[in-house]
Symmetry: C2
Subunit: 223 residues, 2 copies
C-alpha cells in the first residue's frame, strides 16, 4: 500500500488540485456493498442512463449480461459515466446469465431480482446489512427463467397506477437510490476498504493524465 | 354528483367487474396535490418514460411546455400510460413557458424547479403540505431563464459521483417517488375530492367502453 500511496503522491503533480480533491471526495462515496446487474438490456439509451445513475449514486460495480446481443453506450446519455465505473461484461459463454450470477454470488453477494410480481417484498423491506446485487431484466421480456431461478430474493418497486412496470432505467434509479440512501444513513460499513480506495484513486488519477504510462515508467526508473 | 353516480352505475354493466374494481382502486391513489411540468423535452423515449412514471405513481396532472418543437410519445415506452393521465399542452403561445407557469400558479401551486445547482435544498427538505408543481428542463440546456425566474423554490436530487445530473426521466422518477411516498405516509389530504374522483372514474369508464357515446345517448333518452 505504501508504494501505491507514493505513486499517487508523485502523480498528483500532473493533475489540478481541484481534480485531485474531487477524486478523493467522490471515491469516499463509492461502494461495493451493493451492485447492479442488467440482463440483456439492448437499448443503448437505457443502458447509458443506467450507467449514469450508477455513477451518480456511487455504485461502483455494474455487471452486464449480454446473451444474443452486444451492449452499446450512447455517449450523449451516459455523459461519460462509464469511465468512472467498474464494468464486468458476460458475453462469451454459452449461458452468460449463469456465468454472471455464479461469479457475483462467489464474490459474496445475494442476488435480488426486481420484478413486479404480486408476492414480492417492497424496496424498504429489503435487508441491506449484507452485500446485495440487484438484478434487472428487459422491459418486454422481463428476467429470463434462469435468472429468476438463481435469485435469492425478489423485490417490487411501489406502484399505484394501471401501468405494471416502470421504464428499466427508472427501475434501476428508484431501487438503487432507495438502498444507497439507506446505507448512507446506517451504521453499515458500505465504504471501500483502504486498499480498495487506494486502487480506485490510482486508477482514476491515471485516467486523468495524458500519456501516464511513460510518466510512471520514468518515475520507476528514478528509483 | 348524483347524476354522475347514476351514469357510472349504468355504464358499469358494459365493463368487466375486474376493470370496474381496478378503476376504483387506482383512482383512489390519484393526486392533484403534486404535479409534473416538463419544459421542451423533445426526446420521445424520455417523454414517454416520464408519462409512464407519472401514471405508476398516481400523479394525474402533467404539463407539457413545447417551445419550438412538438412532443411525441413512443407507445413502446409509455405502455399507454398517457391514456390515464390529464395532460396539458402549452404550444400555441409566443411564450409557452410563461403561459404554463402562470396557469399552474393560478391553480394554486408553488413551482419547484429541479436543478443541480450547489445552493439548492435537497428533496427530503421540500415542504409538501401545500400543492407543488415540479418543473424539469432538458438535459443539455437545463431550464430556460424564464422558467428559473418564475420558480418559487429550487431542489436538488442527492448525487455522489462525478456526473452532474441524472437522465431527465430518472430525475422525474426520483423526485416524484420521494414526494408521493412522503404524501402517502403523511396526514396531508392528497387524494382527489369526491367530485374529482367521480369525474375521473366516469372518464376512465368511458375510455374503457367501445362506442360509449351512443350508449350514453340511449341511456339519456330512456329517462
Amino acid at each position: 500500500m505504501k508504494e501505491k500511496e507514493q505513486l499517487i503522491n508523485y502523480l498528483s503533480q500532473f493533475i489540478s488540485e481541484e481534480r485531485y480533491n474531487r477524486i478523493f471526495e467522490v471515491s469516499g462515496n463509492r461502494t461495493h456493498h451493493v451492485a447492479i446487474i442488467v440482463e440483456n438490456l439492448y437499448q443503448s439509451h437505457n443502458m447509458s442512463a443506467v450507467l449514469r445513475t450508477a455513477e451518480c449514486l456511487g455504485v461502483q460495480n455494474v455487471h452486464i449480461i449480454e446473451n444474443n446481443f452486444e451492449y452499446k453506450v450512447s455517449k450523449e446519455v451516459s455523459m461519460g459515466a462509464d469511465k468512472w465505473l467498474s464494468m464486468y461484461r458476460y458475453h462469451d459463454k454459452e449461458n452468460n446469465t449463469e456465468a454472471c450470477l455464479q461469479a457475483v454470488k462467489a464474490a459474496g453477494y445475494k442476488i435480488v431480482a426486481t420484478m413486479p410480481a404480486e408476492h414480492d417484498c417492497l424496496l424498504d423491506d429489503i435487508d441491506i446489512t449484507e452485500p446485495k446485487a440487484f438484478l434487472f431484466g428487459t422491459e418486454l421480456l422481463g428476467l429470463t427463467p434462469q435468472a429468476i431461478a438463481m435469485a435469492d430474493e425478489f423485490v417490487k418497486i411501489p406502484m399505484y397506477g394501471f401501468t405494471e412496470s416502470y421504464n428499466i432505467s427508472v427501475s434501476v434509479a428508484l431501487t438503487m437510490m432507495n438502498v444507497v440512501q439507506r446505507l448512507h444513513h446506517s451504521d453499515i460499513h458500505w465504504q471501500l476498504s483502504p486498499e480498495e480506495l487506494l486502487d480506485l484513486r490510482l486508477s482514476w488519477i491515471k485516467k486523468s493524465i495524458k500519456d501516464v504510462e511513460s510518466i510512471i515508467e520514468r518515475y520507476k526508473q528514478s528509483y
